[in-house]
């Protein structure tokens, strides 16, 4: 019996026949992600249904030197969850480990299996008059385990923080097959090294998250959504600072949308509104939410008056119903689709101090246009978090090879400017494989040493998602 046959026999015995997939047709969907990136052919796809099964599989792979890669909903953007193209890996999909374990509306916490779809969690919270704030475009398909492994961000970070701030406890299957269980639903716990934080954002390189205790919040009862037209990015940032003050820090989203994104969105969904009479250089999609009777209209109106007076605001609309609010948010979703349709482009996820963001934006735009005058810069993002998706569409006429090298050059150029402004090359998407080279360049010697040490300590044989974040070790 070959090692591969033995693996399949082990998996079938452990998980039952429906827990293992190896047919080409069945595994096709585990080889492609939302962005269309294609992975290699895996050894098999294992679909464990309990945390113990996950641990058992890892133990087997540890003993037999079989590389594994965990997979959630497949909406990652840095190719961390796709099976390797050169070395066949075992894909472990958490999709069958998908139960809500317990909701505690007094402790404002919920414990869940890692494979729970984010939307399911949000619905379960709402049923108990609570709110789980993580909000992403992919929430209908992404899994909480993936959100934890990638330290997901999204639209509500401004008010509630990233995934790292939303986790109270984790349960992790370690590379050697043991289960690390830290599922205490504690809001305060100051006992030594905070191990769970190590696994959050580790992109599956230190183990597989099988369960978590997450933090809940009171459910917002009143929400106001506005689309505001502004003259430039600098005004947007001034308006942001004022918004937090005028709206008593009840701001839950503050999204920058340049005019071109609105047009891309309408290209995809022609029924979308272009609600302001004239086009404006940049727009802000902003949301204010409160869990009790607060006069949000009054706050927004006061903010608007200040904004107009100072020339930060040109014009704006306020959604008068949830339907209108949803339509405004659809602009934000459809513009991503519109961008996707334009084919291969430079996609970045940079983070900057808010006070440097306007100057960075200006400098980066000039630099891109200097190198490639026909390219189109699309810079949008969660400006409230200092997070800018500074993307560049190459000239459509360019040949594939030339396009690739141009995009690569532009990326290097952009990351240099990011470094100058003391920014980060990955605000929320992570490193995976796609951002590894520039990431390693920014690491200082002590940082590099500690990261390698942690990896070696927890995964000595280097079988957990090898080659993601840090290069694979061959020894």
């Amino acid at each position: 019996m070959t090692a591969h046959d033995e693996l399949l026999t082990f998996l079938t015995t452990t998980l039952g026949p429906s827990g293992v997939l190896c047919d080409d047709v069945d595994i096709a969907r585990y080889r492609i992600d939302w962005a269309g990136a294609q992975g290699g052919i895996p050894l098999a796809v294992a679909r464990p249904a309990t945390p113990e099964q996950v641990a058992e599989i890892l133990g087997y792979c540890h003993r037999n030197d079989i590389p594994v890669v965990p997979q959630g909903g497949g909406s990652g953007l840095v190719e961390a969850a796709l099976p390797d193209r050169d070395t066949p890996e075992l894909v472990i999909s958490l999709e069958r480990l998908n139960g809500i374990r317990h909701v505690d509306p007094i402790n404002f916490s919920m414990s869940v299996d890692a494979g729970c779809i984010l939307q399911t969690i949000k619905d379960a919270a709402e049923a108990e008059d609570c709110f789980f704030p993580l909000t992403l475009g992919a929430q209908g398909s992404c899994q909480i385990g993936g959100n934890i492994a990638t330290n997901a961000g999204g639209l509500n970070v401004l008010r509630y923080g990233m995934m790292r701030q939303l986790v109270l406890g984790v349960e992790v299957a370690l590379p050697d097959g043991r289960l690390l269980c830290d599922m205490k639903a504690l809001h305060k716990n100051n006992t030594g090294y905070d191990l769970k934080q190590l696994f959050i954002g580790a992109e599956g390189t230190l183990g597989i998250v099988t369960g978590a205790v997450i933090k809940l919040f009171p459910r917002p009862q009143v929400t106001r959504t506005a689309l505001i037209g502004c003259p430039d990015v600098e005004s947007v940032l001034k308006l942001y600072a004022q918004s937090r003050r005028s709206c008593c820090d009840l701001l839950s989203a503050f999204e920058l949308i340049p005019r071109i994104c609105l047009e891309l969105a309408i290209e995809v969904a022609p029924d979308l509104p272009d609600p302001l009479d004239e086009g404006h250089p940049v727009y802000i999609l902003m949301e204010v939410a409160a869990s009790g009777p607060v006069n949000l209209d009054g706050m927004i109106e006061a903010l608007f008056e200040i904004g107009i007076e100072n020339g930060w605001i040109n014009d704006g609309v306020l959604a008068t119903s949830d339907h209108q609010a949803k339509q405004l948010w659809r602009i934000r979703e459809a513009m991503l689709e519109g961008q996707q349709r334009r084919g291969e482009h430079l996609r970045t996820d940079v983070s900057l101090p808010l006070s440097a963001l306007s100057e960075f934006h200006h400098r980066a735009q000039l630099s891109m246009e200097e190198t490639s005058p026909e390219c189109t810069v699309i810079a949008y993002g969660h400006v409230g978090d200092g997070n800018l998706h500074f993307n560049v569409l190459p000239p459509p006429t360019l040949e594939q090879e030339a396009k690739r090298s141009l995009l690569h050059e532009l990326e290097l150029q952009l990351f240099d400017i990011v470094a100058e402004f003391s920014g980060s090359i990955s605000a929320e998407h992570g490193i995976g494989r796609a951002k590894q080279a520039p990431f390693l360049e920014t690491l200082t010697a002590p940082e590099h040493e500690i990261m390698r040490g942690i990896k070696r300590q927890i995964d000595p044989r280097g079988m957990m998602s090898p080659g993601r974040i840090l290069p694979a070790t061959h020894d």
């Binding site: 009862q221 009143v222 929400t223 506005a226 689309l227 505001i228 509104p273 609600p275 302001l276 009790g292 009777p293 209209d297 927004i300 109106e301 608007f304 008056e305 107009i308 605001i313 014009d315 704006g316 609309v317 306020l318 959604a319 008068t320 119903s321 949830d322 339907h323 209108q324 949803k326």
Partner: protein, 250 residues
């Protein structure tokens, strides 16, 4: 020509309705309220008539508690010129609303009254028709197109299996259907201006109308919860269940 638009405050259509524990009514505590979607369409149509130069003034009217002034302010922000609130905390049925509106019509003498075909809370679809009967005006219900032509109005109606166009002499009552138009967004500068537009408050007593209802709400119950589906192991089991449990085949 004056255009009068009726506006109702209802639960926002996106809100999941909850019934009070004692089943006496729908639970409205802390629930998001908005303008009835069909009324939004009515306001939009009136404002468009004004923009076309057909209407000279748009007056929004709402009957309900003080909070319904929010919806009137929205109507003003969307382009109505002034608003009238008939203030009452009592529940009002369609007939009482129609009687109150008839009084407002008598005072204002509009050339056209536009209402939503129904409100999404009670779904009665009565007020427009009752108002027409009480005032003796012609009615064009479920409108998908409204064209004012001199002293008359052509109303295209959505009816079973097609469209019907009726010609009414003015003044007339029109009720709106979903496809009449797409309501606009309230612009922030207009929201500010709307605060300064006139909003008159009247009471049913001042209008000489009794709101006492002849209808009593006995009980409100949520629809039966849907049973989850099951997976069957074989075709035989499926056929057995369809025959003996669901009783859809014999």
């Amino acid at each position: 020509m004056k255009v009068l638009v009726a506006v109702k405050r209802v639960i926002d259509y996106n809100v999941k309705i909850r019934v009070k524990a004692d089943q006496s009514d729908v639970d409205l505590t802390n629930v998001k309220m908005a303008m009835n979607p069909f009324c939004e369409i009515a306001v939009e149509e009136a404002v468009r008539l004004k923009e076309k130069g057909v209407a000279t003034e748009v007056i929004a009217v709402s009957i309900g508690p003080k909070a319904s002034q929010e919806q009137l302010r929205t109507a003003l922000a969307l382009g109505a010129d002034r608003a009238i609130q008939v203030l009452t905390d009592d529940p009002v049925d369609s007939l009482a609303v129609a009687k109150l509106l008839a009084k407002v019509v008598e005072e204002e003498q509009p050339g056209l009254v536009i209402l939503g075909k129904q409100s999404i809370d009670a779904d009665n679809n009565q007020t427009g028709q009752m108002l027409a009967a009480l005032t003796g005006m012609g009615q064009g219900t479920f409108a998908s197109e409204v064209v004012v032509d001199g002293e008359s109005v052509n109303v295209t109606r959505e009816i079973d299996g097609g469209l019907q166009t009726v010609k009414l002499s003015l003044p007339a009552v029109v009720t709106t259907d979903l496809r009449l138009n797409e309501p606009r967004y309230a612009k922030l500068p207009d929201i500010m201006k709307a605060k300064k537009k006139p909003l008159d408050v009247k009471t049913p007593e001042e209008l000489g109308v009794s709101t006492a209802s002849k209808v009593t709400l006995v009980k409100v119950a949520p629809p039966a919860e849907r049973q989850g589906g099951i997976k069957v192991g074989s075709v035989d089991e499926l056929v057995d269940k369809l025959k003996n449990e669901a009783k859809v085949i014999s």
